[in-house]
Symmetry: C3
Subunit: 631 residues, 3 copies
């Protein structure tokens, strides 16, 4: 099962005709004509509409909406509608609403509001998906199924506590194994009954918020459980869909670098990946490239759908600037260049009320076609129409891999010590930025990915090591490749326990170093690092974290210039097999990171076509027929 | 019914002899003689004293206190004493304490601690008011009734939920109407039973605090309900007072620009307005002028009482600077100039214990008359004695109106998008400041006020439009007046739904513009705006919000100078009837706002006597005999 | 009963062999040999180990651990193990977990997790202490008992509410006395039944956090109660130990300037004081000196144990810098110089998992002896071995006392007004810093201490006055001594009620001033103060608080230079008896504070040997044989 079938890049987005009288629909479709909009996502929040009471399903209005879209020649991405539960459900079954990290039981409101462990929620959501699929599986306009919406958040209720205990029994088998994994001899935590185990929250193990836990191992497992519990919700609905729709592809919309959900664990269960791109600001081109690559990497390079982006402004932020002219077009093409096989918006028509009425829309409250925004959308629609099918299914031929790992993200940011100021994303972004500036095509992959196809593997902040990853990284070097990793790598095993060896643990042989200790400092403390020598020498800044390295065979590439460890190594390169292991022991600034990364790329002749033109982005996709598309 | 009768401006304030032995009372009255204090507010927190148990009322001490005040020749503003309930009540009836926005049920403590919907609280508070009035209605010294104290805050308990549902039934009649008003098709919120409706709180619709609601319409209604519920508390007590006191005026002390209570809805139910003036700092002269004018405008220009001000310091702030010498006098006279017919303090004698022991008082802990503060109070007392009755009842003859609207305040600050950085008060303050600097007399009035008497109507951030306001604003212009409004006006109807037309909605004809889109930016982004032309041309800064305007007949008065919309209009003037509509599309700095406001005033020859002397304030009141008092 | 017997300064620290297999123990002891580690603290978090179920005690592993330590020739500080309760206890008896300030009932997790008022917790913790003592009292290696761990925090549950009411009955006897003490006439708070009294929390009297209470008197008493309730826990365990161990000294580890626990009330119940020294940063030398002196002063100058310090980094902070080379040695010797008779670490071997795995340890995860940290530890061990017994029991001969008072700390920081920006510790630190810079030996003592041995008594921010302290301070001056106090002194009595007299209350006669009023300003407002005259004149800055002083006999030493009170006194000296009272009315900067303090010291010829060498610290201890040790 792969992506939905289409003759060109689908163009359109979320559409809510149920909010409007039918005469507005008519105006909308004429404007869709103008803008070449050929796909509508329907029904994302229709639960209250399609099931107005526990024993009543009513598809009359949705039928009309679906029929109209089909009659107008539009493709449909049809949602099961379980992204938010209806008021009657919360009233009848208080168990369905969540209990938050602070221990507060919520009542009806907002969206993303269902406890993933609630049997009632699971039963009714699955049944709704079943009925939606049964009803519309044979509607030719329906191209894909959209389950739930932006899964996320967490619940800490008693049902989730029970679910967590069951999940732990599956994982550990015995309490002895669990006690060992969680290191419960510390602080008198030895569990003697499964029922003694509580979800880690502000009421139990946490002392200053979700990242401050007395037992990171417990919290790490709760994050895994939460991600899995919601995945079960998705899988339940997908299975119900499959009962009547054996072949139409199923997705749910991801949110890029979204910490609470381990998309690597989810991706095998989706037929195709789709995601919602809401960059934090105008300066996010590199970050978006990384996120597109991450999303493309979820299913081994398979193209994805850009399920949502705003045509102009967001609404939920403190400050919501508009997309400057041309950015909508530029960013849409960036998505295509990085693997998007659909370009969709949230939203096609602006709501009149509630929290998203000011969120950008193709059609605004006045229903005009002569707005700047509508015109930019229409021009993009025309361009995509001219593009035709050529990019569909095309692949990215990368020889460089960037490792991205939710477990490392979670464990690093949970850690008490060395520094709360080091963020996983920030480290990854810096190394990605260096690769992006260098114009290299790259894949962003899980630590479980096949690394045998890459010449260079960049693994920033590879904090938690699991499985045979160290061996596979060594294999990359053995056959002549380069592996680069950084400070705060090789620290803990999958239970968040320190390795009983020198840092960087099982990466030590490959890196040829041992870390004797480490120094963390506030953001205004700089330790200059001198990189290279001779004409190539450069002085850069390092901040936040400084590991003190004692080479065990590695060559020194850069040294600290200040403090009592001045002159000791900050960057090293170790010959290993036919290749190398590079270790960056400090929080180098972007210039320093880029310098190191280019050293690595140079050895493999991997610099892109215009590596020194700032902010020029290039990307290559290879179509099914072998033709290369250069963006 | 109007203000209490008095032969001069009453001078005095809150007095708590129940905290002291009687020999202290005697010292106090001799000091009151020295300071010409002729009015005491008694009994504001006496519930625990006057009703020590549910079945026991005990007025013995209050009798003595009231008798003494009368015997000493002082007027009395007598409180019902329901500003805080006693411990026994909270213990016997846990329902009376509030549940907060976070869903936490409070127990006994603080003040302002009663659930406005609690039947027990309502019954007992009303009964206490009834008994107080019955007992003292014929006491000649009693000049006025003071109900509760500084009504405010909010409650989210089950009783309030039930009260809210009843209020909604009254407002909407049917669930269909409610669903339509709240736009519940969005996010699957269609309500099918009144009991499904929850107070909007951190446990239901809110996601980051009281201003971040998924459904602003629900929250807006809850604010209206809360204001109304407390108004019902006030009205209950007033009705009970009226049973035995048919003519003495009744008030409660307002708090100026206090967001939780819509004083425009309350004012008709008070016989006279009184308020507590605690400016945030020494630089608040303009702000206080605005607030006095707002308070005076509540009852169509009727004078008010300045019920509280501190003679020196506050206590509850992080930093409590003292009032510099002379400020007490200056600010008291400012109040009189703007319509105050009483000058009162909190507090006459400082408490020994609890949270207000360091709050400024006429008499401090040492009981001295030779403090700086006491001497300034005494000098002011002497001045007011010399003033005599001349200012009592005098009116302000204003030709300029500034609109102030709680609904717009609430809805604008609830809005998701365009910018959380734009505060309603800040916009209003800037336009008021321009008028104040120009030395013009003005009224601050509700959007429902009669506008036919004004030449100029300034309506900053008139976000929510209700009733026939657009027509009445057009009428001002039709007959030759000027109407000025700004960005973020004409956005939503009274249900917080966007108008299905160009911004500024029903104000578009009057303003002769349409807003195509808008840009919000952080506080450090400046877009310069060029105002006027020729010799009059001036460049000012604009920040935070920038609407992109397409004139529909309006003349361009100012243009943006930067960004892709450089050269487009930032300020416009539209000829409408014999007058004009002025539209300011961006967050101009104070110089820019003042420039525009003076353009408007100039056309009506309304600049004050010394418009260019900084920080000089002037005000005019016209006495009942027609004489003009110039301050 | 005094300190544990030992032939030299014990050296070692917390050791958790229960976390490791026995072969690791063996490696550890060989490394201990290298580092001259001769004392291990065992069993601090062993409750889950020694009592795995309510009816099961299992000392098998602890027996082995204790035996091994003894066999290896190490002394043992043996913990009762009640610093954290086990999961089964929380599950079986939910009452044992705490309810926090926000009213949230916690469930099992973390440490310091027991409600001090819970009968079940008290019974079982006491029984465990009884059994541990009975089992190991005759083990020769055991030198001392360690009860609980770092007592602290607070609980607001119903059991604590009941405990609080009992404590109040003991304190006040009658509700009338309580109502008078708490000034409950204010805000209708008169209590008519003990059960109406609630713990002051976010749900009752507090409005912005633990320091913002409507009734500081209630909160002050709750802090006293909390400190006393935990003291009862300690005393319960100690009594149980005494049943079988009549002579071994008992301690618990304090935390220096830790606000929640009044160590002056605890100290008489400990046989010797021990504390954990985790300075906030590298610049804390003066602060640590103060804290050591405070700890030494708890038992009238008796030496204390330095129970914990990290050999390198902490883990729980946002940023955890390493101790620069040499600091470990320097700070350990500073402790000895100020009265430490033991130098111990947390921790001897780093945990593999949970929240302290990155906390510094003598032995790291790799088990190496060739780390920088281990080598510094070993060098220190050798030095202490060479020192031998000479410093044990030595006393500090101080003629200067600095008063430190938990009641003043609590009450000042609870106060509404004048300024939340004035912190008790900050004021004390500034005056201590001045004494420290001057190189003077000083004692830091309680306000109840015998002052007759001191020439100079420095009492910064002596906000709350209790007992006969004013008389004893006057006695110091009468016999020729100097007393120095500051702004915010002499404000309230022990019930937090203002004195009904001029500020500084009962200190007014000694100081010869009255404070007419006070001005608080933000941190960027400076009022320069001119100190002294002639050649000695100096201009310094004052900030935050400015009291306006009218001398009543005192000589003016410094004057304000700005604002309307320019020229009035900021610092005064009053002749009283044969000595003086010095009053500093404003928040002088460090230069100003030091100037005043040196004036005072000069009069008594008390400046240290090198008062002008910056950051040079000196201290003197006098050994039992009278020999002086100079550090
Ligand atoms: Zn749940
Ligand atoms: Zn309520
Ligand atoms: Zn408790």
């Amino acid at each position: 099962m792969s992506l939905p079938l289409s003759a060109k890049v689908p163009f359109g987005g979320d559409y809510n005709p149920e909010q409007w009288p039918e005469d507005v629909w008519k105006q909308d479709y004429r404007l869709f004509d103008t803008a070449r909009i050929d796909l509508v996502t329907l029904g994302v929040f229709d639960w209250a509409l399609t099931q107005p009471a526990e024993d009543t399903y009513d598809f009359a209005l949705l039928d009309t909406i679906v029929e109209r879209a089909g009659a107008e020649g539009r493709g449909i991405c049809l949602a099961t509608g379980t992204g938010a539960h209806p008021p009657w459900l919360a009233k009848a079954y208080p168990e369905v609403t969540r209990t938050d990290f602070e221990g507060r039981k919520h009542r009806f409101g907002q969206r993303h509001n269902s406890c993933p462990s609630s049997p009632v929620f699971r039963r009714l959501a699955t049944e709704l998906a079943r009925r939606v699929a049964r009803r519309y599986a044979d509607t030719p306009a329906v191209l894909a199924w959209h389950v739930g919406n932006e899964y996320g958040g967490a619940c800490y209720c008693a049902l989730c506590a029970a679910g967590f205990r069951g999940w732990l029994r599956d994982r550990y088998g015995t309490l002895d194994a669990l006690n060992e994994a969680w290191y419960t001899t510390f602080w008198s935590h030895t569990f003697t009954d499964w029922d003694e185990i509580e979800p880690p929250s502000a009421l139990t193990e946490h002392w200053r918020g979700p990242d401050h836990s007395a037992f990171a191992g417990i919290t790490l497992d709760y994050r895994r459980f939460t991600s899995d519990a919601m995945l079960t919700n998705f899988r339940d609905e997908k299975a119900a869909i499959r009962e009547s729709s054996p072949t139409l592809p199923v997705t749910t919309n991801f949110m890029g670098m979204y910490r609470p959900i381990d998309y690597h664990r989810w991706a095998p269960h989706l037929d195709f990946v789709s995601w919602d791109n809401y960059p934090p600001d105008d300066e996010s081109a590199a970050r978006m490239a990384l996120t597109h690559d991450l999303m493309r990497g979820l299913k081994d390079g398979q193209p994805f759908w850009l399920m949502e982006q705003t045509p102009s402004v967001t609404a939920c932020r403190d400050v919501n600037p508009l997309k400057r002219p041309g950015l909508l077009r530029l960013w849409s093409w960036q998505a295509v260049a990085h693997g998007a096989d659909a370009v969709l918006f949230f939203q096609l028509r602006a709501s009149r009320g509630a929290s998203e009425k000011y969120h950008g829309a193709v059609i605004g409250h006045a229903g005009r076609a002569d707005t700047r925004v509508f015109q930019e959308v229409a021009e993009l629609g025309a361009e995509l129409e001219r593009l035709g099918p050529v990019s569909l299914g095309a692949r990215t031929p990368a020889r460089v891999a960037l490792l991205f790992d939710w477990d490392s993200w979670w464990a690093l940011e949970l850690s008490d010590g060395p520094s709360r100021l080091v963020g996983y994303q920030q480290v990854v972004l810096a190394y990605h930025r260096a690769l992006w500036d260098a114009g290299v095509d790259l894949d962003v992959v899980a630590v479980t990915a096949d690394l045998s196809r890459y010449d260079v593997v960049v693994a920033p902040a590879l904090y938690l090591l699991k499985g045979d990853l160290p061996q596979r990284l060594e294999a990359v070097a053995t056959r002549g490749g380069s592996v680069l990793t950084t400070y705060l790598s090789g620290r803990v095993d999958e239970n968040d326990q320190a390795f009983l060896m020198d840092v960087p643990g099982p990466l030590g042989q490959l890196m040829g170093v041992r870390v004797d200790e480490w120094d963390a400092r506030g953001p205004d403390v700089v330790n200059p690092v001198r990189l290279g020598d001779g004409a190539d020498q450069v002085d850069v800044d390092a901040r936040l974290l400084f590991e003190l390295v004692i080479p065990q065979g590695a060559e020194v590439v850069g040294t600290y210039q200040a403090d009592f460890y001045a002159g000791t190594p900050a960057v090293t390169r170790n010959s290993f097999g036919a290749g190398d292991g590079w270790y960056v022991a400090a929080g180098l600034d972007q210039v320093g990171v880029s310098w190191v990364v280019r050293q690595v790329l140079d050895r493999h002749d991997l610099l892109g076509p215009h590596p020194d033109v700032p902010d020029l982005e290039s990307a290559v996709r290879v179509a099914a027929d072998g033709s290369r598309l250069r963006f």
